[in-house]
């Protein structure tokens, strides 16, 4: 009996190891594909025609939509970056989604807001009550919507979509800073191929630790927190190279909610953002692709590896855990809602590649990782496995995982090279190594809890992330903008 049990445990250990290796090797292939694309695109640097796009009257105007809930720490910087975009025609629509802090007061004082009658361009359903609409009197193309919160980001975005006037809409998180040319670069595919491009995403990087001033990232620096450093590596691997690889395979599933550009008419046509989804950004991309494929309409979803949106990432385990649980829960909702697309050749590479990958590796991955690790540890502890075998298994998984992270950092260093200080590069490399010890396992645990929440159809809850603001930004300055009372 003991022998059978030992065989089962040993086999389970090897299966888990094989699964982890398969995941890492698949990711490595994606990273290498992305690296090839990034490297090629760098060779075109300076010859992409951005100046022509900026000067062209054919460049479509953009409505930047920013939902905000309790964002007083950085909202003025975010707005400064949005309004300071080098783009020929844009408007910014900020939705103050039931803030209980001074988000609205800060914006009202800085931009001399005046209440106006709303000018709706669409009638998407919005659950929260629209309290008032304001326009800037400073000459900035800024509209501010005040609404009561129903705890969902999608509700705020739908409220903004109802007032958006321009043919393209760009959704940006309120804790994010856009680089000056970010919009111009991400809009380029729409200008060059207006008949086919329906959505485009850009690169997200962690802003924590960077030196900023009034919405401009003056010098990218690595945060002092190891948790942030590890997420920086994670963002490089997944949000830069992974997504570039998926886009190359015509199977891009996620355009981050922190920075994505869409055709407004199509977003309205599919009914706006799903009010019940916790992964409304990915949900929108999949819905658009499903809708357009079903109606046999041409469409391309592209990822532009250059434009950069700097966003705050969690600095504590608690906040990180809530964020990752929400992502996993949202992924579960998405896979259930679009289950007919999974493995369905009618939906092309999205149905045959991306959705099965997300189901097997992203959604079910935590189950295998958590229970696999637990069984290996248990078997080692009970003496069912000799410690040498356990060490080899763990060593192999760790070394391949580390290879994946270090490859992503190497690609960054050889191409974009955003981190100029030697100590930042060293810290980044160290984070790439230690990511696999502790972080990865905790991450799997957070995702497992999100998965369970999705399977038990628990009510989706959008938990706001505490903001720390941007380094170099001085909250006192912002407060001085308020009139004396």
């Amino acid at each position: 009996m003991r022998e059978v049990f030992t065989d089962v445990v040993v086999s389970a250990g090897w299966v888990v190891l094989g699964y982890v290796l398969l995941l890492d090797v698949t990711m490595l292939l994606l990273v290498l594909t992305g690296a090839r694309r990034v490297s090629l695109s760098r060779r075109w640097s300076g010859a992409e025609g951005h100046s022509e796009i900026f000067a062209s009257p054919l460049t479509p105007a953009v409505s930047l939509l920013i939902p905000a809930h309790d964002e007083e720490a950085g909202i003025l910087d975010t707005l400064a970056a949005a309004l300071g975009q080098r783009y020929p025609a844009l408007e910014v629509i900020l939705v103050d989604d039931g803030s209980t802090d001074r988000t609205f007061e800060l914006v009202a004082a800085r931009y001399e807001l005046a209440e106006v009658t709303p000018r709706p361009t669409a009638s998407l359903p919005v659950d929260g009550e629209i309290l008032s609409v304001h326009r800037a009197r400073t000459g900035d193309p800024l509209t501010v919507v005040r609404k009561s919160s129903v705890g969902r980001r999608s509700d705020a975005l739908n409220a903004a979509l109802n007032l958006a006037r321009h043919p393209l809409v760009c959704m940006v998180d309120a804790d994010s800073l856009l680089e000056e040319d970010a919009l111009l670069r991400v809009a380029r595919p729409f200008v060059e191929d207006p008949a086919n491009v329906v959505a485009a995403g850009g690169v997200i990087r962690a802003v924590n630790g960077a030196h900023t001033d009034r919405g401009t990232v003056l010098e990218p620096r690595l945060s002092k927190h190891w948790l942030v450093r590890i997420q920086t590596v994670e963002y490089l691997r997944s949000f830069l190279l992974g997504r570039t690889g998926w886009a190359d395979a015509h199977a891009l599933l996620i355009i981050s909610g922190a920075f994505g550009l869409f055709r407004r008419d199509l977003v309205v046509e599919v009914g706006g953002l799903d009010p019940h989804s916790l992964a409304e950004d990915a949900e929108l991309v999949v819905t658009l692709q499903e809708h357009l494929r079903r109606h046999r309409r041409p469409h391309r979803v592209v990822f532009v590896p250059e434009p950069v949106c700097w966003t705050e990432v969690p600095e504590t385990w608690g906040v990180l855990g809530r964020q990752r649980r929400r992502w996993a829960h949202g992924l579960g909702q998405l896979l259930w809602k679009h289950r007919r697309m999974i493995g369905n050749p009618r939906y092309g590479p999205v149905g045959l590649l991306a959705l099965p990958f997300f189901l097997i590796f992203e959604f079910l991955g935590p189950v295998v990782e958590v229970f696999g690790l637990a069984s290996i540890a248990l078997a080692g502890g009970l003496g069912l496995l000799d410690l040498g075998t356990v060490a080899v298994m763990i060593g192999l998984a760790l070394s391949v995982g580390t290879l994946l992270s270090v490859t992503a950092i190497a690609v960054e260093e050889f191409t974009y090279r955003r981190y100029r200080r030697g100590r930042d590069v060293v810290a980044l490399l160290a984070a790439g190594v230690i990511e696999n010890v502790g972080f990865r396992q905790a991450h799997a645990w957070f995702r497992l809890r999100g998965l369970l929440a999705a399977l038990t159809r628990r009510n989706p809850v959008w938990t706001p992330m505490p903001r720390t603001g941007f380094s170099g930004a001085e909250p006192q300055q912002a407060r001085e903008a308020l009139p004396a009372s």
């Binding site: 190891l17 090629l40 060779r43 075109w44 010859a47 025609g49 100046s51 022509e52 796009i53 062209s56 009257p57 054919l58 400064a80 800085r110 931009y111 001399e112 005046a114 106006v116 009658t117 709303p118 000018r119 709706p120 361009t121 669409a122 009638s123 326009r135 800037a136 009197r137 400073t138 000459g139 900035d140 729409f190 200008v191 060059e192 191929d193 207006p194 008949a195 009034r214 008419d265 075998t389 080899v392 060593g395 192999l396 070394s399 391949v400 580390t402 290879l403 270090v406 490859t407 950092i409 190497a410 260093e413 050889f414 090279r417 100029r420 030697g422 590069v425 060293v426 490399l429 190594v433």
Partner: protein
């Protein structure tokens, strides 16, 4: 287990090699960038001396370091006239243009694309045929670069190849051709007018858009025909309506009014209303007032904005309607609010 040990050792070795490579690359690239920056600082006064042409001895450009090319190519798009010609001459003397010409047939797509970009900026009209040939290149990025370069080079002979490239086996995206045609300016107009009646649907849409941006009055009759013909696609009719608005001739008012009152497409009615606002003909007041009662929010909003643009008469209509409670009144109030804000003196936020 042995295989696993071997694999783990291999992966660890790769990790070590990558760590070392990143560290070395970081140090070397930092040094190289500092050296390049220093060279550029030294060469900038040389380029300024060339541009000044103050009668002194001409700096030796043929023997200058390669960084001079970067400085010149960086300045070129910002200059016009004689200064631009001086820099073009420098690039020709240093063999940059000849190398780019040779690179047009390079194996790597990025080399062909960069060569096309450089020739478009630096070589004038001498390479139109070679660039036009690249409009059929196997790489979409090269085709795009060639289209941009033809626009920059400014040779009217490029109009026909550009229009033809829209529907070949390897088509160039519409937006790029449009930008190139706009760069070429008024010499492109006759071919575009002809394309309005003879081209396929995609070419007509592009021609209508570009003619509208040029404000080409001579194209207005053909655009009106496109707008009023139900047999054409909504996209084409919408583009024609927008173009008529940009041209701004009151002769288009009647056609636009008809479309606003009778079309099934909300998108087309919205653009027709916006066009009537741009034309600013008071004769459109009645149709726009009726449009305020449209079921679609975007059409009501466009009609209200257009009435505000008509001047005192339209604004009086809005004021009269703004006292009500229905959606028309909301649209009227929104347009009046926007008008009031646009009249305020602007103060900057920073």
């Amino acid at each position: 287990v042995d295989v696993a040990v071997l694999a783990a050792t291999g992966a660890s070795g790769l990790v070590g090699a990558l760590l070392l490579a990143v560290a070395v690359a970081h140090v070397l690239r930092t040094r190289r960038e500092e050296a390049d920056e220093r060279r550029r600082r030294e060469l900038t006064p040389v380029v300024h001396a060339l541009l000044d042409g103050d009668g002194g001895p001409r700096p030796d450009v043929a023997g200058a370091p390669a960084a001079l090319d970067d400085v010149v190519l960086g300045l070129l798009p910002q200059l016009r006239g004689a200064d631009r010609q001086v820099l073009r001459q420098v690039l020709a003397e240093r063999g940059v243009v000849a190398r780019a010409t040779a690179d047009l047939s390079a194996r790597a797509a990025w080399r062909r694309g960069r060569a096309a970009t450089l020739l478009g900026a630096a070589a004038g009209v001498h390479h139109t045929a070679a660039l036009a040939a690249l409009l059929d290149d196997r790489s979409p990025d090269v085709r795009s670069a060639a289209a941009r370069a033809l626009g920059k080079a400014g040779d009217p002979a490029a109009v026909l190849p550009l229009l033809t490239s829209l529907d070949g086996d390897r088509p160039v995206p519409q937006g790029l051709v449009g930008m190139a045609l706009l760069d070429l300016g008024t010499p492109a107009l006759p071919a575009l007018r002809e394309a309005l009646t003879t081209g396929d649907a995609g070419v007509r849409v592009l021609a209508a858009e570009v003619l509208g941006i040029h404000g080409d009055l001579a194209a207005a009759p053909a655009l009106q025909d496109l707008l009023t013909d139900d047999g054409h696609s909504v996209e084409l009719r919408r583009t024609a309506a927008g173009a008529l608005g940009r041209i701004g001739s009151p002769r288009a008012t009647e056609a636009l009014r008809e479309v606003l009152a009778g079309s099934d497409s909300a998108a087309l009615r919205r653009v027709a209303a916006e066009a009537l606002g741009r034309v600013g003909d008071p004769a459109a007041g009645g149709a726009l007032t009726a449009g305020l009662r449209a079921p679609e929010a975007e059409v009501r909003a466009a009609c209200a904005d257009a009435l505000a643009a008509l001047g005192a008469e339209g604004q009086a209509v809005l004021s009269a309607m703004s006292g009500g409670t229905g959606p028309s009144a909301v649209a009227a109030r929104a347009a009046l609010d926007a008008l009031a804000l646009s009249r305020r003196p602007v103060r900057m936020a920073f």
